[in-house]
Symmetry: C2
Subunit: 541 residues, 2 copies
């Protein structure tokens, strides 16, 4: 019978086989994009490693064209991080879903443990060559070749050499060959990717050597690393029943549910436990967390949503920062108006903290550069160059009522919007990490942040318009005074100059008041360079 045959064909597959067949889900579609994706994966890992070790990142990227006709390239990416020990090198570069990123509640660029192995995979699929890695870790310099056993999702490591490192040497070098890629200086190429990386990571020095030998340095403009995000506990808001139960069941120590809650989640104080107790007369907060039932956990989750919590700790989320966004934006665009907004941390499903920072530049250099409706997306300081169509950031900007902010047609005005989403876990739409999924809580915050910044722009624009109107009116009135004082003079016999002086004084006084008002409303304009968040958060509940 045919259905017997079907079940004979039943097989299990590894995640490496899955992504080998579905490389487009990792972002490997198109030659230019594929090359950028590789640089992106390796550079983000390097930045994470350097910052975690407290080292100011020095990143070197070299693209060599080995064969023009065959579109055969070699990529060399070197960092000055701590390196990777021999025991972990294979897993870090040749096994998917293995690593230090996936399970930690820590803001990092990488978060899946797939990217580096995906590059090793792509190299092997297109050239048949393993990837070469040179890791200088704690005085030892290890050179190894790394491949992947797809069926098992296991690394295939061959140590080429292990020697003592030079004094002070440290870091990882990734050397890998690729075909089915192309180097191009386009909006989607490696150059633009690194330019934007430098923009959002001013503490980082990047050198790029392009295929034809041209060397570009993106020097660091800040000589300290951004403050290190703290590894945090999940926030009770947004935690699901299943998550809560899983935490409870993993709890091996003998303790009460109440102390388990305090120790597992952030912001749960003794006072909050009392509040929860009052809300949950039927749940025994002294019981062993291991005995928590689904119904009790569900009741707890409901109670969590009824308690007023302190927002997640700010030090768990590190934005680019208002000052820095301003400096960077001015450097690129030198706009007429610039407003930067940084919202306080919020939480989305799973108790995951996140925050949004937004910069809006308008006019001036934006117009001169011919940019219209420009959107620059970042997540944890990583530039997102692709899949803008399916991204919550783009989607939010597209559906904003811009007219409300005196921006008639977003696509047609000299406006540039930068959005950086910062989170312990960015909800990407796919393993390729190029677009943010339309999670409701996240989209709301993006919207509020853009609205906040837009109000600053609008105040400036409307202030500018009003100032223009006043100046015009003043001119008209002055002409009228001329005429009127002449007429009055001949009617009354008073001196024309005296009448004119008196009338002018009245008018000047009136406009001085209006001018002041204009200045006040325009304070978010170029003079101060930033918009104070308004007290009222329209739209937010």
């Amino acid at each position: 019978m045919p259905d017997d045959d079907v079940f004979k064909q039943f097989k299990e597959h590894s995640i490496a086989e899955f992504f080998k067949k579905n490389r487009q889900m990792l972002g490997f579609t198109g030659k230019v994009r594929s090359m950028t994706i590789i640089v992106h994966e390796i550079v983000t890992n390097s930045l994470d490693a350097c910052e975690e070790a407290g080292v100011l990142p020095d990143i070197f990227v070299q693209v060599d064209e080995l064969d023009k006709e065959k579109e055969h390239y070699r990529l060399t990416i070197k960092d000055n991080g701590p390196g990777i020990p021999r025991s972990h090198l294979g897993k870090a570069l040749g096994q998917m879903l293995a690593g230090t990123k996936f399970h930690r509640y820590l803001q990092q660029r990488g978060q899946q443990g797939i990217g580096a192995a995906a590059c090793t995979m792509f190299s092997y699929l297109t050239t048949g060559q393993p990837t070469k890695a040179v890791s200088v870790y704690k005085g030892k310099k290890l050179t190894a070749s790394i491949g992947i056993d797809f069926k098992q999702n296991k690394p295939v490591v061959e140590v080429i050499e292990e020697v003592d490192a030079s004094e002070g040497e440290s870091g990882l070098t990734f050397i890998s060959e690729f075909k089915d890629v192309r180097y191009e200086r386009s909006n989607y190429g490696v150059y633009e990717y690194l330019r934007r990386t430098a923009l959002a990571n001013p503490h980082c020095a990047i050198t790029l050597i392009e295929p034809e030998g041209r060397s570009t340095a993106f020097p660091r403009s800040v000589i300290v690393n951004p403050s290190k995000p703290t590894e945090i506990k999940p926030h009770p808001l947004g935690i699901g029943t299943h998550d809560l139960l899983e935490f409870a069941r993993q709890n091996r120590e003998k303790r009460r549910l109440s102390s388990f809650l305090q120790e597992t989640f952030s912001r749960v104080s003794a006072g909050k436990i009392d509040e929860l107790r009052a809300l949950l007369p039927n749940v025994d907060l002294n019981k062993n967390p291991q005995d928590l039932s689904w119904e009790e956990a569900e009741a707890l989750v409901k109670a969590f949503s009824q308690v007023k919590w302190i927002a997640p700790a700010t030090d768990s989320l590190v934005p680019i920062g208002k000052d820095q966004v301003e400096v960077s934006f001015r450097n690129i665009f030198n706009p007429e108006v610039l407003v930067v907004t940084e919202r306080s941390p919020k939480v989305y499903r799973g108790g995951i903290p996140f925050m949004v920072e937004v910069g809006i530049a308008y006019g001036g250099g934006v117009a001169e550069a011919g940019k219209k409706g420009e959107v620059m997306r970042f997540a944890n300081r990583v530039p997102l160059l692709f899949d803008s169509g399916g991204c919550a950031i783009t989607e939010t900007i597209k559906t904003m009522d811009w007219k409300r902010y005196d921006v008639k047609d977003f696509e047609e005005e000299p406006i540039a919007v930068l959005v950086n989403l910062i989170s312990v876990h960015v909800p990407y739409t796919s393993a390729g990490k190029q677009a943010v999924s339309p999670e409701e809580d996240v989209m709301d915050e993006i919207k509020f942040a853009i609205m906040e910044a837009s109000r600053g722009v609008q105040k400036y624009l409307s202030g500018k318009r009003k100032a223009h109107e006043i100046a015009t009116k003043k001119k008209v009135v002055s002409r009228y005074i001329q005429q009127l004082s002449g007429d009055l003079s001949s009617l009354t016999g008073e001196k024309k100059a005296d009448i004119e002086k008196a009338l002018t004084k009245i008018v000047e006084e009136k406009y001085a008041r209006e001018d002041m008002e204009v200045e006040e409303t325009a304070e978010t304009g170029p003079e101060t360079g930033n918009g104070k968040p308004d007290a009222d958060n329209e739209g937010e509940e």
Copy 2:
């Protein structure tokens, strides 16, 4: 040292853990969408199972609201397929990347072996309940509960009952509870999803019972299953070096490279082997395939691209079909013009065959329904309701030069475009399978298909315009003849009626010719209902 700590945190994770944390990559974002995704995953599996077994699908979907306040639902989805044997039930519904879909070169709706287990996961994550399955397979009726061990990515099966089935009974029933979902009759809801499924699967009968008890039947309009797509061999075009080598190394039989190629790939005949031999003087086609080197494989792949191949077998790809798309489109829209195009199969990377069918409806009922620039996306007859922003189909339509086809502004005209991408492996952007990745070869074909259909629409539109112009001109000329014949009559003394008759004859003859031309160019209009593919395929080399 801190970096020691980092590597102590090194862990390996299962794909189930990965998707548990990244459920948005499976399409689980938003309550309404999540519910549709569940129905989508289970219904597509049911349709595949029925068709594979040669059974006309009868699908029953019931949505029960168990608790309004908690948004707690139960979904029951029942099919009349062959059922699943006890040995495979757990893996089919409770293990990711296990199944019959992933590795076969066969056009199916499912292709990953993730979807059903993802639903079981989502149910468990939101309600803590295992999923219940009733499988009637070969006379046995098995009722079991199915959960997932996330750490291991293994099913947790508990058999509740196994009894003899009733005579003639067969099929699978999936019964599962969910929270964090919502039933809504919106454009993204279950109703619309099933309506579109029925549209693209006229051989399928679907019954939907909505939460408030309303029952809707989408009856079958065709009483035979579409012809069964044949399981095929990969096509040499588009095969990569790595794929070729992998096939060669898997080859266990003692045979020559030449016969390996003929037996592993489709369309490789003895004649083609001779052509390859001529192109590859340095590759010994008599060698053992196991000994094939990367360089030789690369040379073979290059030679593949230089040989003229027969396109992939048409019977491996089964479209909805021209007639059926016409019937369905007329039923929904009753448009003024309707053009349906079906392109011949092509191949994209990996030797994967695919084809595109397109229907364009314009005016008439489209306008009456208030639809403008409507896009209906399908892949292997499965409606794609989400992520249109990141989809190659939408992207292609958006970037088309519609003016060239007399469609001034796509978004503002009464036009509806249906695109169905048929393939042995659809390159989805993520595991949620809602958008097609922008693979170059695939996008080109979508474009050519839309262009082909658009030409039909354009001919009709321009024919209509021309006919209107001729009618106007004729009216003007007739008036002129009246005047002229009167004038000529008084000048020459000839009878006015005779002159008028003679002039009218000349004019009628001229316009009869032009009319015929118009009719010819408008033949793709409503009279014939389809556009003959043009001989010239502009744009396609």
